[in-house]
Amino acid sequence: MIEARESQDLNRLEDEAFRLHVRQWIEGNYPAELRNPPKRLHWDENKPWYFKLAEKGWLCPGWPREFGGLGLSPAKQIIFTEEIERHGCARTNDHGIVMVGPLLINHGTREQQQFFLPKILSGEHIWCQGYSEPNAGSDLAALRTEAVLDGDHYVVNGQKIWTTLAMDANWCFLLVRTDKNAKKQEGISFLLVDMTSPGITVKPIINLEYHDEFCEVFFDNVRVPAANLVGTPNRGWDMAKALLSFERIYLGSPRLSAYAFSRLKQLAERMGVWEDAVFQDTYAKLRLDLEDLKSLYGVFVDKVRRGETLGPDVSMLKVFQTELFQRITDTMLEICGENAGLLDPMEGNRNLNPTGLYIQARPSTIYGGSNEIQRNIISKNVLALPG
């Protein structure tokens, strides 16, 4: 129903030809100054890349072609992602692409699909994710932002937090409580909310990176058309959980650790400790950890490639990857000497900022389900330890 702009079916290419095709196009089109950005970019900074992808028809590799995506097979999607990561491309404001699109394709009405999907593809709608709340973090199902039906509208009141790049977004997919009397997982619904609606206030939060990546979003009697509810009322939790499972393999990808590790070597040379035996021993252990992470990641990627659904054991990747990322940056700090206390020890060398990376590594064990929650998942759902 929506014309796919990429005219050829890229699934027909051999894997290596496809990889080369993608690589060449990225190299020819990605803005050089945005490679490996030290911080999550705002819409103003990354929209040229978003539009390049959109124009090429490559914005949504996983969406079916009839919805304007590339309809890539799981195997081809992995190659596509690997090439994006290899080149150090910035993450775009991608919630519409990776969350809202699949949500509507699977659960949306025809009207919702026809209205929203083209506007994601054109960049007209930029989405943010309204999940966490001040009192519903790890325990997400405890969320209390409430939506009450009033005629053909829901009236929303409450507060969301850690909403990534909410200040850039003009739409929000929101988890709200629509039945206060049901069991906590059974009274939750999915609402699509126009961020320009009266009653919405967005307040940026300055994080330890001195960056305003996250926001608080307040809802004060915000009226949302009832037609913007996705799926069945009070059945939003299962859809929300299904969308989160995508995150876990993404967060387990070795790319962050691999990037930090490559910087560790540069830093060690610069600090004059590269030949030091104690450093070399630490470096060797980290390198083998990284190599084994790649092996384990490969096990899960092969499952995706075969079209299998990933189980809860994918949480292992997230835990090991994020903790390795932190250990690498811990080592960076250790070899920095007093430079560890400098805000910008490498004087504007954007490719080598150890203290910045150290800070960036901190939230990785918190977001996407804290590592403590991931360990709960492993112990309960993989090892079947009692509750």
């Binding site: 060797a284 292992m316 492993i378 112990s379």
Partner: protein, 356 residues
């Protein structure tokens, strides 16, 4: 899955199933306990059975009388057997079979493949090495289960080549030392005059075979980890303290999750290395792949086995309870064919860094 991959998966499944004949899943430790510290520390009839199953020649090419299978099958086999704590020196025998096939000595190879003769290779001259210098006079050390050998193979440096001698075990000067798991290490002072020179240069074959043995030993470590961890999980799910099943305590749950991660990392590393070797990796890439796996197995292996004792509490410290058998076997194989430190060093020396 492609047809080739499916065939491979099927052959690995069959190997795993067949291992049950010697090391049944869910079997008890009676046989293993009975063999502890009773020379030669293993059962020659079971060794013969291993020959009948074709395991000793598993990785020997079919033309030489072997099964012509690869490392992916070999690690599945050593994993299963270690899971059942089988004390028979299968990995050393497989190493010898590779050398005899390389030397094209059918007279010795045939009975070894059939499990009728125990042939062990006395290649090692010091602790923690993968190098066989082949000094004729040097005592050969750490020969696993040497008391059960019928024949010893000795690599001996002769000019540019590493010759191979076969020396009968009967009448040889071999001293046995008890190992942590109830087996024996032998030290051999061989009299080459009593032996027979069977190959002029076995150096390249030995190099490859030692790497394969290191990888198979890493596979055995996966088997120890897996079974000890299973045992620990069962314990966490049944043992009660403070009126609750101890597996409900979050500190223990999180520790179990960490052990599972290490187990999965080790398995992934070992299976990736086996796939690399089966895919034809050669030279430095081959050695690096093996070292990556063995370093992980040595380090994560002992860590997991130690923690399994801790999670059991006092019962884990008794000889009567089986989990300790896994730690003691782990202590014997952790550094066999190279410690984690040796393999880390070798990996760093040989593996190319990713270009950035």
């Amino acid at each position: 899955m492609s047809e080739v991959l499916e065939e491979r998966a099927e052959s690995i499944r069959m190997i795993r199933d067949s291992a049950g004949a010697v090391a049944p899943r869910g079997g008890d430790s009676k046989r293993v306990r009975g063999l502890r510290f009773v020379a030669p520390g293993f059962d020659k009839r079971v060794f013969a059975q291993m020959g009948e199953f074709g395991w000793i020649g598993l990785a020997v090419e079919e033309a030489a009388g072997g099964a012509g299978l690869g490392m992916s099958e070999a690690i599945a086999l050593t994993e299963e057997l270690a899971g059942g704590l089988a004390p028979e020196p299968l990995i050393p025998a497989m190493l010898s079979a590779r050398l005899l096939a390389g030397a094209d000595d059918q007279a010795l190879l045939g009975p070894l493949l059939a499990g009728q003769q125990v042939v062990l290779t006395a290649w090692q001259e010091r602790a923690d090495t993968l190098a066989a210098p082949g000094n004729a006079d040097a005592p050969r050390v750490f020969i696993p289960q040497a008391g059960g050998a019928d024949v010893f193979l000795l690599p001996v440096r002769e000019g540019a080549g590493l010759a191979l001698y076969a020396v009968p075990a009967a009448g040889a000067d071999a001293i046995l030392e008890k190992t942590m798991d109830g087996g024996y290490f032998g030290t051999l002072r061989a009299d080459l005059a009593r032996g027979k020179r069977i190959a002029a240069d076995i150096g390249a074959v030995l190099d490859d075979a030692l790497d394969e043995a290191a990888l198979m030993t890493a596979g055995a470590m996966v088997g120890l980890m897996e079974r000890a961890f299973d045992m620990t999980l069962s314990y966490l799910k049944t043992r009660q303290q403070f009126g609750r099943i101890i597996g409900t305590f979050q500190s223990l749950q999180h520790r179990a999750a960490d052990l599972k991660i290490h187990l999965s990392l080790t398995r992934a590393a070992v299976e990736a290395a086996a796939a690399a070797l089966d895919g034809g990796a050669a030279g430095d890439a081959r050695k690096a792949a093996v070292s990556k796996a063995k370093a992980r197995a040595g380090e994560s292996g002992l860590m997991v086995l130690r923690q399994c004792i801790q999670l059991h509490g006092g019962i884990g410290y008794t000889d009567e309870y089986d989990v300790g058998l896994y730690l003691r076997r782990g202590m014997v194989i952790a550094n066999q064919f190279g410690s984690a430190a040796l393999h880390r060093r070798r990996f760093m020396a040989l593996a190319p860094e990713d270009a950035e």
